[in-house]
């Protein structure tokens, strides 16, 4: 009975969402506020309904209802309760319901706001959110139903939602259990973060479409969704960072980012989202680029759907998996339909989206922001072609190919370097007008400083010219950005007679978006240090050591002590743990325990032994050992220089976004474009 109840509620919310679409369109076209209100309430109703449906699913997961196919697939008796709950998004059917639930939560939150003077947007925002919700819920209801149960039909076990004739319910004794790789804390938070990011980008898209449909194409929609897109960006970024950390901790290849199609699927909307964050500022300050911002929001939305499709349809393992499940064609159909519809709307409103002012100089901040957009889109193009190409190749030529990290690294490295250079220049350029002369005057000190740093590194650290170019850019951006803080504080101090710290705090508090952005730039540079370190200077070695034998890598001496192996029947896993003493020179530092967990299901998992400091990570993997004697073992040892700057930068990055996105005390805060234009000739610290 319980699964039927959960399924029934899901169907009900599906129908309510359809009603909301119809009612909202009717209400908007016939100018009937009561219909619009009814549609809004329908939208609000989907949230408690889906919460109930999800609660039923969680109930089934937690209480070992293995007769439900989804529960059987993702949980087992031995899993702790919290993992059973998080198994909700551990499989396809559950994660689609999770997606729908999040979307209805966000859509409800947005429809609850005071609409006052934006009331004409309301029905269309409801329509767009509901259409998206109907699409995802439709998949849950018709194709990927998490409530499907196993039935014994003529001696065969078959999954069906409702009892077939003459069938009896089949309840397996235990479930498959969640893939152990997915039991890492990072993996528990990482998917919801990505989904949160994905789902929250639906909101800006909904407002953009509402603006196009109603013809209110001024920058109101951007102001309304600015915070949404920042929070969406935060979640997506957090998802990416956590995914990287998870890969580093669990996947056992000493890296954090493998340019895997699944990673790229999440990275692509992040790229357009980042471009959007920058280009909306041009529209807000200068009234330019309205077409382009629309296009970026549309692209982000479509990439979100496309990313879900890539990771969920099985198309990545084989194009033919695509044809076997109805999910793939449905996603493609939905993406094509919404894309064509949105672009048609943009073209229809093209004349009203014209810029309000002209651009004055190719070095103005808006021109540099455009360049930034071009670079982000270039990375997107490379990623998109790289992900799509193997599929197209398999489809058209029958030849499977791999597009691996070397392709992406070579193609994107110069673009990332250009982006870093822009980060060093753009903060110094002014809205409206800048010249080589003004820029040069603002930049030369930082450039000289970065040059000195680079020369110092040349003599002390490395002669790798790529690394030197990278570190030059890092130093340049850090210097320029910190100088911006310094200049702002000094200006305040002169005017206000405050202490340095009061000035700094007030300065940042008053211009959170500007200084939050700078914090994010600084964090990007810290991450760049880490990435340069591990990508260019990683050393690795692999070999077999007998007990008591030692080996050396970089400046570490490693002594292999012993290796032990034991079963843990509760967790259904066999642990093999080695002990390695780490010395730096003769100085004993720490014992490391690289581990190999072999789950009874046959899934192996390598847990590295890691010694971390700001200089590098000593990262040891247990590759193999002699099962009988246990006196010799094979290790793979990495020294990853500077990699912890990547993690430090990641933390600062997320803090920077939170600082920027944190709600204002006064939500009606508006930046006046006029005051900015008046000051447009000076690189002012007050915008």
């Amino acid at each position: 009975m319980i699964p039927e109840f959960g399924f029934g509620i899901a169907i009900l919310s599906f129908l309510v969402a359809i009603y909301s679409i119809v009612a909202a369109i009717y209400g908007a076209t016939k100018k009937s506020p009561s219909m619009v209100e009814s549609a809004r309430r329908g939208m609000l109703l989907t949230f408690p309904l889906l919460t109930l449906s999800a609660a039923v699913l969680i109930y089934l997961l937690v209480n070992n209802h293995f007769e439900v196919a989804f529960v059987y697939d993702v949980t087992s008796r031995s899993m702790p309760t919290y993992l059973k709950v998080t198994a909700w998004w551990g499989g396809q059917a559950g994660s689609l319901l999770f997606w729908s639930w999040l979307l209805s939560a966000f859509a409800s939150a947005v429809t609850l706001r005071k609409w006052d003077r934006d009331v004409e947007f309301l029905p269309w925002v409801v329509v767009i959110c509901s259409v998206t919700l109907v699409f995802f819920l439709g998949m849950v209801v018709f194709y990927e139903n998490p409530f499907t149960r196993y039935w014994l039909v003529n001696g065969n076990v078959e999954p069906h939602m409702f009892q077939p004739a003459l069938a009896t319910l089949f309840t397996p004794g235990d479930g498959n259990g969640l893939n152990p790789l997915l039991r890492h804390p990072g993996m528990i938070i990482h998917p919801p973060m990505l989904y949160l990011g994905f789902v929250s980008y639906v909101i800006p898209y909904a407002f953009a479409m509402a603006a196009l449909i109603t013809g209110r194409t001024d920058d109101r929609w951007i102001r309304l969704t600015r915070r949404w897109s920042l929070w969406a960006w935060l979640f997506l970024s957090a998802g990416l960072v956590l995914g990287g950390r998870w890969a580093y901790d669990v996947l056992g290849w000493g890296g954090y980012w493998g340019w895997d199609p699944v990673e790229i699927a999440a990275f692509m909307p992040w790229l357009t989202g980042t471009a959007f964050l920058h280009s909306v500022m041009i529209q807000e300050k200068r009234g330019l680029l309205k077409h382009w911002n629309m296009v970026l929001v549309i692209m982000t939305y479509e990439l979100v759907i496309f990313g879900t499709f890539l990771t969920r349809s099985g198309v990545l393992s084989s194009v033919h998996a695509f044809a076997n499940s109805p999910i793939g064609p449905l996603f493609m159909g939905y993406v094509s339909a919404t894309l064509i519809g949105s672009i048609a709307l943009v073209i229809y409103r093209w004349p009203t989206l014209r810029g309000e002012t002209e651009m004055k100089s190719m070095l103005s901040r808006e021109a540099l922001f455009l360049l930034n957009n071009l670079l982000f889109i270039s990375v997107l193009v490379i990623c998109f072609v790289g992900v799509i190409f193997p599929l197209v190749s398999e489809l058209l030529t029958g030849q499977k190919v791999t597009v691996g990290p070397p392709f992406y690294e070579r193609a994107t490295a110069p673009i990332f370097a250009s982006l870093m250079f822009l980060m060093g220049v753009a903060p110094l350029s002014a809205w409206g007008n800048s010249t080589v002369k003004t820029l040069g005057r603002a930049m030369w000190k930082s450039a000289v400083l970065a040059g000195i740093v680079t020369v110092a590194l040349f003599f002390t650290f490395t002669r790798n010219y790529i690394a030197l170019a990278g570190f030059f850019l890092v130093a340049l951006v850090l210097s320029v950005t910190l100088q911006e803080f310094w200049r702002g504080v000094r200006a305040r101090q002169r005017a206000q007679n405050e202490s340095f710290f009061t000035s700094l705090v007030r300065l940042m508090g008053r211009n959170r978006r500007r200084y939050g952005g700078y914090i994010i730039h600084i964090s990007m540079m810290l991450m760049a240090i880490g990435i340069l370190g591990i990508e260019l200077f990683q050393t690795e070695t692999q070999g077999t050591l007998a007990a008591g034998e030692s080996t050396k890598i970089a400046e570490y001496n490693l002594v292999f002590k012993d290796v032990a192996s034991w079963d843990n029947n509760d967790l259904e896993v066999n642990f093999t743990r080695a002990t390695i003493q780490v010395y730096k020179g003769d100085q004993y530092i720490i014992d490391l325990h690289p581990r190999k967990d072999m789950y009874f299901s046959g899934q192996p998992m390598s847990i590295p032994g890691v010694y971390s400091n700001l200089q590098d990570d000593l990262y040891i993997l247990l590759v193999d050992w002699q099962p009988i004697s246990s006196t010799a073992a094979t290790f793979k040892i990495f020294v990853n220089p500077l990699v912890n700057w990547l993690w430090l930068g990641s933390v600062l990055f997320l803090l920077g976004i939170i600082f920027t996105a944190w709600p204002d005390r006064d939500p009606a805060e508006e930046t006046s474009r006029r005051s900015v234009t008046r000051n447009a000739n000076q690189p002012s610290a007050a915008d």
Binding site: L251, G252, W253, G254, G258, D260, P261, S317, G355, E358, M359, K360, S361, M362, L363, A367, L370, L371, L374, I377, S378, V381, I382, V385, G386, F389, P390, S393, L396, T397, Q399, K400, V401, T402, V403, G404, P406, F407, A411, N433, T435, V436, K437, T438, T539, E540, T541, Q542, G543, T544, L545, E549, S550, T551, K552, I553, S606, T634, K636, N681
Partner: protein, 163 residues
């Protein structure tokens, strides 16, 4: 300073050398030599996993095969070619340019990016050109005239480049 560097390099090279020796003891071909080649190959079974880190038994066997081939004196290219012949192009980290079709992936992104850049610079020019005369109506007269000169010079340069 330089002496120190040389000493450092010396120690570094020797330490890595001896690390190799210490780890090699039992085998003629070290794991590092195997991994260096395996890293350039992709597991023919698992998705997007380089052969040197793939934990499956099949990949273990393939690594042993590489070890055998190195011991036989085969070059890296021969070994890579062997795997391509066995399992197809998918074992390589990027599509080889041997087929015309694969050229698409190397040519398409630059074309799109270039097209984007051209569109961007054309639009920028279109937006900026009519403003030349009014440009720099700032408070500071000398500043704006200087910037205007700069600006005109840069425009000229842009035009020259276009031709």
């Amino acid at each position: 300073m330089k002496k120190f560097l040389y000493a450092f390099a010396f120690v570094f090279i020797f330490s890595t050398f001896f690390t190799g020796l210490a780890l090699a003891q039992s085998n003629v071909v070290t794991d590092d030599e195997v991994n260096a080649i395996a890293h350039k190959l992709y597991c023919p079974v698992c998705q997007n996993t380089p052969l040197d880190v793939c934990p499956t038994d099949a990949c273990h066997d393939w690594r042993e095969q590489i070890r055998g081939m190195i011991a036989e004196g085969k070059t890296e290219d021969e070994i890579l070619q062997y795997f391509v012949d066995q399992f197809g192009d998918r074992v390589l980290s990027a599509p080889p340019v041997s087929t015309k079709f694969n050229w698409i992936i190397y040519i398409l992104p630059p074309i799109i990016i270039l097209a984007g850049a051209i569109i961007l610079f054309r639009s920028l020019r279109e937006w900026t050109t009519p403003k030349t005369i009014e440009a720099g109506l700032g408070a500071d007269g000398s500043e704006s005239s200087a910037s205007q000169d700069d600006y005109v010079a840069r425009l000229e340069e842009e035009l020259k480049k276009q031709k």
